[in-house]
């Protein structure tokens, strides 16, 4: 069979010129990464791949989907996952596989039967596609993770005390995020039956009229439901900006720290924090 002959030839060439093919391959890959990786690193990662490919090819048939190439596929998958995480481009990753074809073809030389080549080419293409798919999948999972983390970051509503909630805002407050924060806060107010909420803006980089408007809307909605809001974490610069922009927070309590805000909340909830008399026995 033509394919079997092709396989045998490839295995033969690979075994005979393993070192030389490897060197050529590693060099091509190193060049393609444009200095992001050192030759030793490339070599360490690709030698197991080359060995696994050779082992797979010895089984007799060149088909990237066969169980014989499971190990090679797993190694290549790991390789492209690493590349994706390190921020390599798709072509920088895929070139690692396609460079192997060039390296092998150079060594097959002129005595290769033309019939051998398509099978080998298909095989490399299969491996390349696999690499590419793994690369895309890992990129997607990275993006998915980041999106989830961002959402979690943006809407924590924490309970400080019975009836007192806190919303630590981190990052710029745009209308989409205000909506999410507002909903989370109001839902939690109802769920925990809390009459006080502290909105902490320590993590908000800048307060302009837009952000202030969003804050006021949230506080207004909470008031409609019967809860009192206190703004905390107003930094000196922010306070200056607020005044120079002419933003009016009306009768909403603003405090410099969460501790101050908590004191206000305790006060209006009729709670008191006292130091216990020191006991020395």
């Amino acid at each position: 069979m033509a394919t079997e002959q092709a396989t045998n030839r490839i295995v033969e060439v690979l075994e005979r010129d393993r070192e030389a093919i490897g060197d050529r391959w590693f060099r091509a890959v190193t060049t393609s990464t444009r200095g992001k990786m050192v030759p030793a690193e490339v070599r360490r990662e690709l030698i197991p791949v080359l060995d696994a490919l050779l082992n797979g090819a010895r089984e007799g048939e060149l088909d990237a989907g066969l169980p014989a190439f499971d190990e090679a596929r797993a190694l290549l998958g790991e390789y492209s996952r690493m590349r994706a995480r390190q921020g390599f481009t798709p072509s920088e990753t895929a070139v690692a596989v396609f460079a192997l074809r060039d390296a092998v073809l150079t060594h097959i030389g002129t005595d290769a039967a033309i019939a051998d080549l398509p099978a080998f080419s298909r095989f490399i293409d299969g491996l390349g596609l696999h690499t590419f798919e793994t690369f895309a999948a890992s990129r997607e999972s990275v993006i998915l993770n980041q999106t989830e983390q961002l959402l979690e970051l943006s809407t924590p509503v924490v309970k400080l005390w019975d009836g007192i909630l806190a919303v630590p805002l981190v990052g710029t407050l745009d209308s989409a995020r205000t909506q999410v924060v507002m909903e989370a806060l109001l839902e939690t107010l109802v769920a925990t039956n809390s009459a006080h909420a502290i909105i902490d803006i320590t993590g908000v980089p800048a307060v302009d009229t837009q952000v202030a408007q969003h804050l006021l809307k949230t506080i207004f909605a909470a008031r409609l439901m019967g809860a009192q809001c206190i703004i905390s974490g107003v930094r000196p610069q922010i306070a200056q900006t607020i005044v120079s922009l002419g933003i009016d927070f009306g009768d909403i309590a603003t405090k410099a720290t969460v501790a101050d805000a908590l004191r206000v909340a305790f006060n209006s909830a009729g709670l008191e924090v006292r130091k216990t008399t020191e006991k020395r026995s």
């Binding site: 839902e187 009459a195 409609l224 439901m225 909830a269 009729g270």
Partner: protein, 145 residues
């Protein structure tokens, strides 16, 4: 004949629980009934439970403000109770106010607010026997911005 919203008296307080969709006519009837009841019963407080309302438009918002205003003239404080988050967001987005009405999360808190204003649910002034949970409860207005 349009639907009527029931008004329940608890001590000196009238409890209005709106369980039906408010049409303009029902709303006007409620306003009329309530002011008559306040005078007839000598009520000192009105609790307006809107927890069943899924939609509050500008008309209803204005009606709540009017009821509060009328009650105030008749010496009864109004507390709006149980507004849904979605309703609160919509009102805030639209910039509608309830005209300075007091609000509370639930009727327990509303009773506490009224009690702290000296408008107890019981006719005898035995406030001391009430639970102390709401003693320090704050009363805040929903309309101020």
């Amino acid at each position: 004949m349009s639907e009527r919203v029931p008004i329940v008296r608890i001590g000196q307080i009238l409890l209005v629980s709106i369980q039906v969709d408010l049409s303009d006519e029902t709303t006007l009837t409620l306003q009329d009934d309530l002011s008559n009841r306040i005078v007839a019963e000598g009520a000192r407080g009105v609790i307006l439970d809107i927890s069943a309302l899924e939609i509050v438009d500008s008309f209803i918002a204005r009606m709540i403000g009017t009821i509060a205003g009328v009650s105030k003239v008749l010496d009864a404080e109004t507390v709006v109770v149980g507004m849904r988050p979605a309703v609160a967001i919509t009102l805030a987005e639209l910039g509608l106010s309830l005209g300075g009405v007091r609000t509370a999360l639930d009727s327990d808190k509303a009773f506490a607010i009224l009690r702290s204003m000296g408008r107890s649910a019981t006719r005898d002034d035995d406030d001391d026997s009430e639970d102390s949970e709401g003693a320090g409860e704050t009363a805040h207005t929903g309309g101020a911005r």
